[in-house]
Amino acid sequence: MRITGEGERVVENVSSVRELLARVGLVGEEVVVLRNGVILTEDDELSDGDEVLVYVVKSGG
């Protein structure tokens, strides 16, 4: 998994985007999660070996 601007890390044993975000402490944050360029929702499932990019969206104006 890559979090833009914060390097890459390996996260194991997560089966959904929701679990992934909880594992890396991003629950409640505004994020865009992509796998192979496809935007995922919290309900989408993840599998071993998935390469995921997480971008923490900025909401200020």
Binding site: G5, N36, I39, G60, G61
Partner: protein, 246 residues
């Protein structure tokens, strides 16, 4: 040199530094264009200044707030003399002095679907500071099949993307995970950040109007001011994403 129909001598002088880049045809496209800038904070200040300066002929500027002291650090449309004034009114005054050829329509109101639906524009610019307002704007722009230029900032970071009905999904589909609404301390943002992101929004808006260059469609431009870096994240719209736009 013969005076071009549609551009006055004053306009030809005013835009002399860009006429060779975009041609008189391009300048007339800007002059005819109608743009809504939704939000007149850090982003909106930068966007609207440059849209007026380049000659966008019709600017609708929307905000619900009055000018406060903490705004002056980054909302470059305002000065000490504007404290307490409704932002759209203070902004309109400045923009009209910057470019008297730009028709500026200030809208001092809460955003709502009915309000936005009553205004017809060619491009919507998202300079809001919260997701509920952004998604109202997104819904209206999508329903009218008009482009929406999105920008967001925090700290030294920001992003820009262009929503183009028929080409990209809507903003609600691009950002399906937006967290919970929560009270938080005042937004921390370094003043150059909304300046940079706002100017990129202004540039994307101009490119849409002019039909020039490549747009940030199905692309998210991510800015990190500390590294510094610009990164473009490309994404592939999945058909199911469009269901969220109905």
């Amino acid at each position: 040199m013969a005076e071009s129909a549609g551009l006055s001598e004053f306009e030809r002088e005013l835009y002399s530094r860009q006429l060779k880049l975009i041609g008189e045809e391009g300048q007339l496209k800007l002059k005819k264009a109608r743009v809504l800038v939704a939000g007149l904070g850090g982003l909106g200040s930068a966007v609207s200044i440059y849209l007026a300066a380049m000659g966008v002929g019709n600017l609708y500027i929307l905000d619900r707030e009055v000018v406060e002291v903490s705004n002056l650090q980054r909302q470059v449309l305002y000065s000490i003399d504007d404290l307490g004034k409704p932002k759209p009114l203070a902004a309109a005054e400045k923009l009209k002095k910057l470019n008297p050829n730009t028709n500026v329509q200030p809208i001092y109101a809460e955003v709502s679907e009915s309000l936005l639906s009553s205004i017809d524009v060619d491009v919507y610019v998202d300079a809001f500071d919260n997701w509920p307002a952004r998604f109202v704007l997104d819904k209206v722009a999508w329903s009218k099949r008009k482009p929406l230029v999105h920008g967001g900032v925090r700290g030294f970071y920001g992003q820009v993307t262009v929503v183009l009905p028929g080409v990209t999904p809507c903003l609600r589909a691009l950002f399906p995970i937006t967290g919970e609404t929560r009270e938080e301390s005042p937004l921390q943002v370094f003043p150059t950040t909304p300046g940079i992101i706002g100017l990129i929004e202004a540039l994307e808006t101009a490119k849409i109007i002019l039909g020039m260059g490549n747009l940030l469609v199905n692309k998210l431009l991510v800015y990190n001011g500390l590294q510094p870096s610009f990164e473009v994240i490309e994404f592939k719209p999945d058909p199911k994403m469009f269901e969220r736009c109905q």
